[in-house]
Amino acid sequence: MMPASALLATDRLVHLSGVDLVIVVFYFALVLSIGFYLKRFAKTGEDFFLAGREMTAWVAGLAFVSANLGSLELLGWAGNAYQYGIMASHWYWIGAIPAMVFLGIVMMPFYYISKTHSVPGYLQLRYGPEASALSAVTFAVMTILMSGVNMYAMAVVMEVVLGWNIHFSLITSSLTVGLYVAAGGLFSAIFNEVLQFFLIWFGALLIPILGLIETGGWSGMVARIHQNFPGQDFTHLWAPMHSFSSNPMGIHWTGIVFGLGAVQAMGYWTTDFLVVQRVLSAKDVRSAKMAPIIGSFFKMAVPLIVIVPGLLGRAVLPMHLVPASEAVAGQFKYDDVLPLMLARYCGPGLLGLGITALVAGFMAGMAGNVSAFATVWTYDLYRPFLRKDAPDQHYVSMGRWCTIIGLIVSIGTAYLVMRFASMMDYVQALFGFFIAPLFGTVLLGMLWKRVTRAAGFWGLLAGVVSSVSMFTLMKLDQRWVSVFALSPYAKGLAQAMYQALWSCVTCVVVTVIVTLVTKPRPDEELRGLVYSITDVPQEQHTSLLQRPAFWGAVALAIFVVLQIIFW
């Protein structure tokens, strides 16, 4: 056994007191207890993989938004807010809200009515095994790699922030996640995500409250930023994007509107099974439609606990943070801004709450990855291609084993990343290759009944290949950045937005061309899968306040007002 002294290093951002440690330990005890309590309910495949399809709109909605509220997200976007200013909010507003409303109103009925277990499952029904297998294999591989990358990143953060030994963090967190997800399946994952949602809000909300008190409110904070960084604009959303060179991201507003809002965000929020799986657990169609819309209201508020702390860092921190690639010993990186602000305002007790929120975020992210992996492997690869007619219990056992095996592979990936650090960037980029083209394939399949089986597969493949090609060319030769991202000033985030846009366009163009030269499926085979020939339940007989469309419109109205306020 590792001696306690070996678990703690002296060089760390924050120091935990006894009460902080009690808070962290209680969280581990609670999630394990909940996992074992839920085990008795996860008996059938539907229970284990889709939480019995009995979650209310609120639970599914909070789990949906929480699945994307991991600690890497929080630390990374607070760092981005420090680096780019309030422009980072685009990833929470135009990069989320329209897509969430679109998922709820337009796409969710098809996922739900078709009774699919997953997004590749929908592709199986709509296009057949080729497109489904391509999507399932890429999703399974990428999810497990991402889980390993997240695991490693968590261990590094715990080492830097708390001084915890990397191996200790890896083993403790993965063992806990493995036990509770293997026990309760998606039930456990969703319960933990709801807990994590509250922990993150109550753990991080004090930073903007106390920070704005210190600076004398929003205007005081803006004045301090201008004083500390004269001539730079960190507090406007759209104004700095009239040209590529007028903002630190090197992006034009077209990249944000079309690359991020219309493609990247739509792809992520409507086809990434990790988040869609949470909504599929809803108890009926109306709850499934409401869940992402409920999530959109909370998503809109997240900049308060992520972006504002980043901006406050510019206003109040005595030192200037630097990019990770330029940091030398003793210098703090952009991504350190959230822990630095936590340590600035939170003493014993509150610090434990904030750190527990970070740990919970990491573990919920891992649980999300392994539960989505177990579902896609079992239902979209193992059942159709390896063992078609096994009893339901067999698939539940397979799901439990997948959870354990998935975590072991993730741990292996984490150690691989530890040896080859550059792998991390590439694995994260890989995930982006599939999201944008997949959106084109799924959307065309839902809205146009003429799209054929071959078109679905070749369109998706062409989109993925074009995305990989653009990424590789831009990495190999800087001159390609001007071609694909339209400007030599485009930084990594800007390049990714245009890459998403062009790969989705490629997917759509190839899908349309192949469709026009191949034979369509008969209408009766597509009922429940395509908009024009499906009876989607309407809500004419429900009151206005119970209609998802009404709340979707409210979410969009608030979104527009926020754009105007922070223009």
Binding site: D47, E54, F202, C346, G349, L350, G352
Partner: protein, 70 residues
């Protein structure tokens, strides 16, 4: 939350978490009242009112969603 299964609502577990954390934070805030930590704005005694808020919210959740209520 559950129709097919009679599962304790997740809100009850949220309540338990808040009650325990609220109590611990509130008590540690009181204990350091006369000698607050060296954090910025420590004179506002955030742990006391934040802990109290968590404690109240947790109690409400535990009461409203306690097992067997329905």
């Amino acid at each position: 939350m559950s129709e097919k299964h009679h599962i304790i609502p997740v809100w009850f577990f949220v309540g338990v978490l808040f009650v325990v954390y609220g109590f611990l934070i509130f008590v540690s805030g009181l204990a350091e009242w006369s000698h607050p930590p060296g954090t910025v704005e420590a004179e506002l005694h955030a742990p006391v009112w934040w802990g109290a808020l968590l404690l109240v919210l947790g109690t409400v959740y535990c009461t409203l969603f306690r097992p067997g209520k329905n």
